[in-house]
Amino acid sequence: MEKNRKPQIICISSGKGGVGKTSFTINLAAALSAKSRKVLLIDGDLGLANVDVMLGLNVKHTLRETVEEGRDPLEILVEIMPGFFVLPASSGVPEMANLSYEEQAFLTDSLEHIVGNFDFVLVDTAAGVGESVLWFNNWADKNLTILSPDPTAMTDAYALIKIMKTRYNKEDFHLIINNVKSRKEAQEVFANMSTVLENFLGVKPNYQGAIPQDSAVASAVRQQRPFLVSQPKARASMAVMEICNKILS
């Protein structure tokens, strides 16, 4: 593999589960690779991985082997489509969800050895504010937070940002509003979130985009394919392309 690139590491989190992190991350990776960028998607939900399920993969090796046996992550990579690679994690392994400091340091070291092969590294984190979530967010260059227009998703997204700001001094947050009825609704949610973040934490988030409610999303999940591939003209696909262009610009 060609090395020595300076990748942009983007961590995608939400706080709450079921907001659409994994679906969005897979489609963003597909969009970036469609723009001729080399992308690595790391399944950061180390104990309850889903990326392989959503892509219909039957993986032989996972990050668990990197942590437990020292296997080179390059041997674990799965190429989904040209330029789009996945580092799968394990499912139903509680030990992986609670890595020790030593294991975390080892995993970071192993990942840092391979990220130079890519233009973009996307990390799809677990739900919640567990240590792996905070650690991946801290490791990333850019923090994307996904939320939907419901009070629980907003509270959890806010809580995550508050922790990252308070404990890790992170200042730069990018919001994506998922599952919105209209652009107006997305703007209202963002404006409100932005006001609260600014008032209480002194943080000015960036609006990264919104993804509309679209039956293509649920349909693609059942087909275990990115909706950007199965229905490129769907409204959700267009929205992801718009976010991709914004990231590239």
Partner: protein, 251 residues
């Protein structure tokens, strides 16, 4: 890379290795002397990052010196207890604390420091025996050293307040069952946004230990800028977060 100053002090290779060891205590590394045959004088030093996974260390040891690691290989986390002089052990430990605080700034992961007083009247023998007991209970990246004649210091890289308190509780339980005298513990926690100097960090733990000595509880902790670390979402924040949802209803 370990840079050795005052190289003129090294008259032979053994001296040179000794100088390397002296310099390396300032870094979070583990030094493993490598010899041609078991029992012979070391001819090289293997320098390993202390945070590497145990499996990785074994692989590296195999790759770089299979069968040549002499029996002098020391246990990394209680290495300082092998020193005859408790004071020099404490000084070396302070170097490790300094190195760890630098890592906290870089990695932004917390670290904690425990001072464990076994018994005011304890002697060196009891301290060593206690260290041997603790060895079974601690992780390999934890660093244990004598602090004074009756006190052990333990550095816990990566542990935040809650995890360090759990560890302190487990240690207290383990030692209390094994020791006739009272066991007291002082804990200091360092977060990345407010990293104290090594002296200050140790003083924080010592101050908590003194509180524990004179007050009823056995474990006391201090947490730098504790108020700033309150991450819970407050009622005011929630009210504002949900305000736009209710806007339509009021109108």
């Amino acid at each position: 890379m370990v840079k050795v100053k005052n190289q003129q002090r090294a008259e032979n290779f053994a001296d040179f290795l000794h100088l390397l060891e002296e310099e390396a205590v300032r870094f979070p590394v583990e030094l493993i002397p490598v010899a041609e045959a078991a029992g012979s004088a070391p001819q090289a030093l293997l320098v390993l990052d202390r945070t590497l996974a145990a499996q990785r260390k074994v692989e590296l040891k195999k790759a770089l010196g299979a069968g040549r690691i002499p029996q002098t290989n020391r246990e990394p986390h209680i290495a300082l207890l092998d020193d005859a002089d408790a004071l020099s052990g404490a000084e070396s430990f302070q170097d490790s604390v300094r190195a760890e605080l630098v890592r906290v700034k870089k990695s932004r992961l917390p670290c904690s420091l425990l001072l464990i007083r076994i018994d005011k009247t304890a002697d060196r023998g009891l301290l060593t025996k206690t260290a041997a007991t603790l060895k079974k209970a601690i992780a390999c990246d934890h660093h244990l050293a004598p602090f004074d004649h009756a006190t052990l210091a333990m550095l816990l890289p990566g542990l935040n307040r809650d995890r360090a308190l759990r560890q302190a509780g487990a240690i207290h339980q383990c030692l209390a069952a094994d020791t006739a005298g009272r066991v007291t513990i002082g804990l200091a926690v360092c977060m990345a946004r407010a990293v104290p100097a090594a002296d200050e960090f140790m003083a924080m733990a010592l101050s908590e230990l003194q509180k524990a000595e004179y007050e009823a509880g056995d474990i006391f902790y201090s947490f730098h800028h504790q108020d700033d670390d309150a991450c819970g979402v407050t009622a005011e924040e929630r009210t504002q977060l949900f305000s736009f949802l209710n806007r339509g209803k009021k109108e």
